[in-house]
Symmetry: C2
Subunit: 187 residues, 2 copies
């Protein structure tokens, strides 16, 4: 940030009175420009014993598989955002959504909020954001080609919880460096 | 937003290519300025059979009672933010935090994330943000003087859950107009 979005003057970084953090401040109009983490809302879509994943056709991580998720927009709830992203990335309309996971990724200023939900029928397909959309049984999950740590963590929890049928809401920090359980770094 | 924070030129509102929402866009440097909901992280602090509340000394809702909570900062997790806000607003250090509630308030672009947690000792006090900090037994909760709907909703759930000792994570939308259960509008 170099310029004030309210008045167009140059901004400086300083700690405002009564605050304890550096902020971008406009010395012309006194506006303080706060910068805060963003929320990413998504769905873990289930059909029978399979999980729906999307192969990304946009950066970052083009070609890798992910769960449908994206930035929450102003004016929508996390559930509405998650359902919207699921349609935008996979064309899948899901039902019976249940809050399932919150992941904090403080290094990149992101909070993920995931709902698990069901496809009533196996209707889905590629979109402008996904080159391929497919259902995976546990044995077929492409562990080596997942786009982000949160995908692996969510799938691991779900496959474990499914054994007991008890799905407690997950709350975890995902901090870097992060090590995959399925693809540990080669020594 | 009137000016581009990157280059200082005037911004316009338009739907960028590949998007479906109006965004602030700089036609000089092509930057798209997204605006997204903010996260508010907070604590439901418990000591024995009592709940800690803070009387606000800052706008909005000066003089009304609230749970310690505030905007999540870049670089911290929701749990870290909640613990920080609890100290900043009440001087209370809590232990054993458990995810307890997510409230979506889409009209004002906010997502609240609350943890319930315990005070080991009844150590707390007023701060620059709270003129008074106090523990309330159920019978003494100032229902008519709560600052925000989310405070009433959180307290109602907690008092109900406490009867059974089973605290499932709450996920609710709080939409306006909102009607208090304890202080219905006078007819």
């Amino acid at each position: 940030m170099k310029f004030c979005s309210s008045c167009g003057s140059s901004v400086i970084q300083k700690i405002p009175q009564g605050d304890n953090r550096l902020r971008y401040v406009c010395e012309s109009c006194d506006e303080i420009h706060y910068q805060n983490p963003r929320v990413i809302a998504g769905i873990l879509p289930i059909y029978e014993d399979k999980i729906l994943l999307c192969r990304r056709s946009i950066e970052p991580r083009v070609g890798y598989w992910t769960l449908p998720a994206g930035f929450l927009e102003n004016g929508e709830s996390t559930l509405e955002g998650a359902m919207r992203e699921c349609v935008e990335e996979s064309l899948a309309n899901v039902v019976n959504p249940q809050l399932y996971a919150i992941f904090d990724i403080p290094q990149i200023h992101q909070v993920y909020i995931f709902y698990r939900a069901n496809l009533q029928t196996p209707v889905f397909g590629p979109t402008s954001e996904s080159s391929e959309v497919a259902l995976f049984a546990e044995a077929d999950i492409p562990w080596g080609e997942l786009a982000f740590p949160m995908v692996e963590v969510t799938l691991d929890h779900f496959l474990e919880d499914r054994k007991t049928g008890h799905f407690e809401v997950i709350r975890e920090d995902i901090r870097r460096p992060w090590t995959s359980k399925h693809n540990p770094p080669k020594s």
